[in-house]
């Protein structure tokens, strides 16, 4: 296994008085796809959103513990949230194209960071290609992004996230709003991206985790029950709850 990219230490999350994540300790290796699996409401999404500090956008969320990205705690006092989120991108369950053209959607990230406006067109092209969307939209880059189909919008969101060159890509049930063919498209893009990105995918579809994952984390009622390589976890899980979940008798 390769070097650890993200280390989560003693992470606890409360929403009001509700204890949603309990003492999470985990290591997410660099590159490859790590899948977080578990039934609905077990804290998968909360864990994912704690990794790019999007949790704090919800009022009433309280976080304690550490999330180390390349050895540095992103929750340390004085940490620059925008820098954290630039290095750790997010793909939401539903595509949310920004209210602008296809081109502007991808250019948005580089623009707000004030990066090389001269090369914007190249950046847009490169990332649309990386998301597997370029050939479908290259002739209508100036049309509003909302005119694309849902599957195309999700790939646009992927291109948009990639345009700020994140090291880590968090995907929250990235295919749940898509038809099977679009879903397959997104999955195959993720497979390619894992060569040089750390991809973390939340999914409650076991089949998807089996197809995609190199590493798996299984969560149950706010706890991280078990983590390991996909082969190990799917073939010989240690915890009885993992066994039961994989067998389909719980969750």
């Amino acid at each position: 296994m390769e070097a650890t990219q993200i280390r989560i230490q003693d992470l606890n999350v409360w929403y009001g008085s509700q204890h949603i994540l309990r003492n999470i300790n985990a290591a997410i290796p660099a590159r490859g796809i790590t899948a977080i699996i578990g039934p609905s409401g077990c804290g998968k999404t909360t864990l994912l959103r704690s990794i790019n500090r999007l949790l704090e956008e919800t009022e009433g969320m309280r976080v304690s513990g550490q999330v180390l990205l390349g050895g540095v705690d992103i929750y340390r006092p004085g940490a620059d949230v925008t820098a954290v989120r630039t290095r750790i991108g997010l793909l939401a369950p539903k595509p949310f194209p920004l209210p602008m053209s296809i081109y502007e959607n991808v250019a948005y990230g580089p623009r707000i960071h004030g990066w090389h406006s001269g090369h914007l067109y190249e950046i847009v092209q490169r990332n649309l290609e990386a998301a597997g969307l370029w050939d479908e939209v290259k002739d209508r880059l100036r049309t509003p992004a909302s005119r694309l189909s849902t599957g195309q919008q999700q790939r646009l969101c992927l291109a948009r996230a990639l345009a700020v060159e994140p090291q880590v890509l968090l995907c929250d049930e990235p295919t749940s709003a898509l038809d099977p063919i679009s879903a397959q498209g997104v999955e195959s893009q993720l497979q390619r991206l894992k060569q040089d990105h750390t991809v973390v995918v939340v999914t409650h579809i076991l089949r998807q985790a089996r197809r995609l994952a190199d590493n798996v984390m299984f969560m149950w009622l706010g706890e991280l029950v078990e983590e390991g390589t996909a082969v190990q976890l799917f073939t010989s899980p240690n915890d009885p709850r993992t066994k039961a979940y994989l067998a389909g008798s719980i969750g």
Partner: protein, 331 residues
């Protein structure tokens, strides 16, 4: 729960057709349903019908003046001498436009920023405190704003702002005046601005809040700051709503009567500076209707000006609706 469901769906227990008592009740229910439907439809149609009814009545009563004076001379003549039979609405139309413009300039930037703050930045605690107070502002009677304007705003304009501005910016025609009283366009605009604050804040806030959270998160998770997110994503998406909020405030400002009339000076002239006295259309009607009615055509002239006011506000609303539709269409 399950027992009730079983009773409801069991065909044996449903004897609506055979039991006469049930069937009488059934008829009653249907009758009530139908009468509720038609009563509500009638009331809705009556409300919608009020607009043409009012416009028609105004047109009818204003007809004597429309028949005897050319429309262009009514709308574009400055001469307002009822005793000589000269009725030019231009000073009043310009008075309305001046006061409304100043009010919008004063009101729109701070109220939009307040709306953005409350919708995007403020913690729930602050929202719960601020919003009821802002709503309260909307409930203060117009005449109270007028008194406040006379007691506070007019002396402030006359004693502080006017001397200061004319000392430093007196060279500009916009700030030059021979009216030292403080009663004028600026005082009227300031009072109006405070009156339309709560309306713009409330409407703009609701529409900004209606922008999906996922859009904000999409921008934030690219490393955008909150302000970048608000400016490039939230406001762009809520554009039509913000326009609607401003237009709503503007329509309110155009028609507001009492508070404005108390502080605006009421001199039938075309204002040349923000310190000049003005005489907006609503003030003209409110001050004069019922007096000097023996003057020929005076009554018709006042109702003609009411018609003009109605048409200005209507035109404004239609134009804004078209603008909003176009904006929504491009989104």
């Amino acid at each position: 729960m399950r027992r009730i469901a079983a009773k409801l769906f069991n065909p044996k227990s449903d004897r609506a057709g055979s039991d006469p008592r049930r069937s009488r009740r059934w008829w009653k229910r249907v009758a009530l349903d139908k009468s509720a439907h038609y009563t509500m439809r009638l009331l809705t149609m009556a409300t919608v019908g009020l607009v043409p009814l009012i416009a028609g009545a105004l047109l009818w009563r204003a007809w004597p003046i429309l028949a005897t004076h050319r429309l262009t001379s009514l709308l574009f003549s400055q001469a307002w001498h009822p005793l000589r039979g000269e009725f030019g609405f231009l000073p009043f139309i310009m008075g309305t436009l001046w006061v409304t413009t100043v009010a919008m300039l004063l009101a729109v930037p701070p109220s939009l920023l307040t709306a953005i703050y409350l919708a995007e930045y403020a913690p729930v605690r602050v929202q719960r405190l601020a919003n009821p107070v802002i709503d309260l502002l909307a409930g203060i009677p117009s005449v109270v704003y007028g008194v406040w304007g006379v007691l506070v705003i007019v002396p402030l304009v006359g004693n502080q702002i006017l001397p200061f501005v004319s000392r430093h910016l007196g060279a500009l025609a916009l700030f030059r005046t021979d009216n030292p009283t403080g009663f004028g366009v600026l005082a009227g605009g300031a009072v109006l601005a405070v009156m339309i604050f709560p309306l713009i804040i409330a409407v703009a806030q609701d529409l900004i809040r209606a922008v999906p959270q996922g859009l904000r998160e999409a921008s934030l998770s690219l490393g955008a700051t909150r302000w970048q997110t608000v400016k490039h994503v939230v406001l762009r998406r809520a554009r039509a709503g913000v326009v609607a909020a401003v237009v709503l405030g503007c329509s309110r400002a155009l028609g507001e009567t009492m508070a404005v009339l108390m502080v605006v000076g009421n001199v039938p002239q075309i204002p040349r500076s923000i310190f000049d006295a003005a005489y907006p259309l609503p003030a003209l009607i409110a001050n004069n209707y019922g007096e000097m009615m023996s003057v020929p055509l005076y009554d018709a002239a006042l109702l003609g000006s009411a018609l003009v006011l109605l048409l200005v506000v209507l035109g404004f609303n239609v134009a804004s609706r078209l603008a909003v539709m176009r904006l929504v269409g491009t989104n």
